[in-house]
Symmetry: C2
Subunit: 387 residues, 2 copies
């Protein structure tokens, strides 16, 4: 397969965006990405779209052809991918495969969700369907409950504390202060996080990511084209995907995800890199415990040591391994299908010097981890600075 | 990209299958395909799954990881694709891309739907969501209405008659008599079809495909592997995909699909073939008028001449261009996500001499056309006999 690069990114504001459709949000993000890439809509050979459930949220299935339709790209193949909260990661990955294979020269990969139309209880029920319906959803589990069990087990095995989880939320809220597209611009304290509403013991409100509308887009081209592009460009070093059992009871361990371990290891092997080479991460902090497990499972911390990272300041923007400088799902927001694409957009911006107030210094490699369900799908990407 | 072949297929009975999940149906079809391929589950590098809406039909989103889970393939990447009734075609196509690119050596592409759980009115409403929600669904259109408008316009422009459409239903019901996996084993007459319940004027009950449960699976490998396989094998000559506007009012013509024309033309170009080279077809007869439009738009009949094909006997199993020898969606049944895979399974069986009573003589090339929504997605495949 040939080498691949990204030459354009787009990203809407994340938040409660009112009366707008995911198709319109995608159009806005895609036009921004196309403008940066200097490509026209007619240059695009295929569209991939990560969308969790436009049927449930917007009464619109078969949403993918609506994207080239609204963009005025008549007849461009357009494909929807769904893997719960990892739908966006798979959209980017399949855009990369399309170009790397030689099938397409220019692919637009997008992701979006319009979630705030529905009452919170409906959203929670819709999201719960991404767990195993027979063994988990029917008996009554929702994702806060599933991740609460993981948090409890992580506490039991490794002594991880509520304060450590709260520190992840404090860090990501602080990071989001410098991301104008983030849903929240509000600093919080460890005390405030720990004393917030109990959602699913031991997880409180500030351990949980919010309900969000938004979209993100990237333009993927062969690296031979990207490297001559007169504008920002980033090289795709590796992607990887892994699946696991739907039910938690079928897994030997609740303190981490085998999928994250496999996807990260595969990505490192394909890239010829190790965790030591990676300068910063965007990981899937749908709950604070998920960020802690991610940085452990990806190999950046020993198992059980991840809880100390945010508390010690190591994963802040000025720490030794910045994690979720965008604000993460926790504070940037989590429009399901958009999240995996948004992570790649943030890594692109950091590697291209386009991250404004939150710009990291001297970064060469950034990595993403995008999680679906209770970790039944994981998608990782490693990107390299292109200039 | 490297050449690709298929060395195993599986297919459940289609019909009202009672208390069973799509995951279980897929497991059955996949095990049959794996057995034919002589590969073990551990050889499979990736799974692709076409499923329209396991969320609405079965309260299960994020269904893809459940497939390797049930098959005991721990951690194999598994990806769901949704493009309305073309979801299965995209599952096969992305399996082919995965192997052709060199990324994977062995891919399992599956498709399924479990639809008979819901009342017919709920299914009709769910399917309607595959049209444009804003411009078509909200004002009240469902697919019988959309295809009725196409049928009316085809009558107006070309003099296509209700008898010609009925002849498609009669033919496909006759074909299904020799397919033990088909939903219906019941011959009908033109009179019976024309006098059946009016669904959406001018379409009667027998112009419409049924609501069906079922699954199908194929095993895709490099042609270099397939050609040495001690068992049935078929070569993938080409695939192609096209999209169109969601709304019918944005199209210049209602008597055919630009997407079918583009996808078929692209597939012929990639295969280095013309319609004259193709021995038989499996096309998307969700409504009888759709089969007529398909054989025109694919280039097998002049525009306006397709209506005569079944009436003249030309598209029967013993005719000059057999179409839907499996029974088609009309009589084999139409479990949405399974259909595109099922078409490829039928072409494989015909090219491998495995079609039992309905076996065609001396066939070298077979072609599929799989349609999503009101033609907003089309996927075509051309397969070549491999022995």
């Amino acid at each position: 397969m040939r080498e691949v690069g990204i030459i354009g990114v787009g990203h809407t504001k994340f938040g409660n965006l009112g009366r707008v459709t995911s198709r319109e949000l995608i159009t806005a993000a895609a036009l921004e990405a196309l403008e940066m890439s200097s490509l026209s809509k007619d240059d695009i050979d295929a569209v991939y779209a990560g969308l969790l459930s436009p049927d449930i949220f917007e009464h619109q299935m078969h949403a993918a052809p609506g994207i080239p339709d609204y963009l005025g790209m008549k007849n461009t193949p357009s494909t929807r991918l769904e893997a719960a909260c990892a739908s966006g990661g798979l959209s980017v990955m399949h855009g990369i495969i399309g170009v790397a294979s030689g099938l397409y020269d220019h692919v637009l990969s997008v992701g979006a969700e319009k979630m705030t139309n529905l009452p919170t209880s409906h959203v929670t029920e819709a999201l719960a369907m991404c767990a195993d319906d027979i063994y988990e959803v029917a008996p009554g589990i929702t994702f806060p409950g599933a991740f609460a069990m993981m948090a409890r087990r992580h506490e039991h095995e490794f002594g991880t504390t509520p304060e450590m989880r709260a520190a992840v939320a404090v860090k990501n809220h602080k990071h989001a202060m410098e991301n104008e597209l983030a849903q929240f611009h509000k600093e919080i304290t460890i005390e405030k996080a720990m004393n917030s509403l109990m959602i699913a013991d031991p997880l409180t409100l500030y351990d949980c990511s919010p309900i969000t509308d938004g979209a993100a887009a990237v333009v993927i081209v062969p690296w031979e084209v990207a490297k001559h592009h007169d504008g920002p460009k980033v090289k795709v070093k590796a992607f990887a995907q892994a699946s696991d059992t739907m039910s938690l009871h079928d897994r030997p361990d609740l303190t981490g995800f085998m999928t994250t371990k496999i996807a990260a290891r595969t990505a490192f092997e394909r890239a010829g890199l190790t965790p030591k080479d990676i300068d910063f991460l965007e990981v899937h902090d749908c709950f604070t415990i998920a960020e802690i497990m991610a940085i452990e499972d990806m190999g950046f911390y020993e198992k059980g040591e991840g809880g100390k990272a945010a508390l010690n300041g190591e994963t802040y923007r000025d720490g030794r391994l910045p994690v979720n400088v965008s604000g993460g799902l926790k504070a940037k927001g989590h429009p399901i299908g958009a999240t995996g694409v948004s992570q790649v957009v943030e890594v692109f911006k950091q590697l291209s010097g386009l991250a404004h107030e939150r710009q990291l210094d001297d970064v060469t490699y950034g990595m993403t981890q995008n999680l679906g369900g209770s970790g039944s799908t994981i998608v990782c990407h490693i990107l390299e600075r292109g200039d």
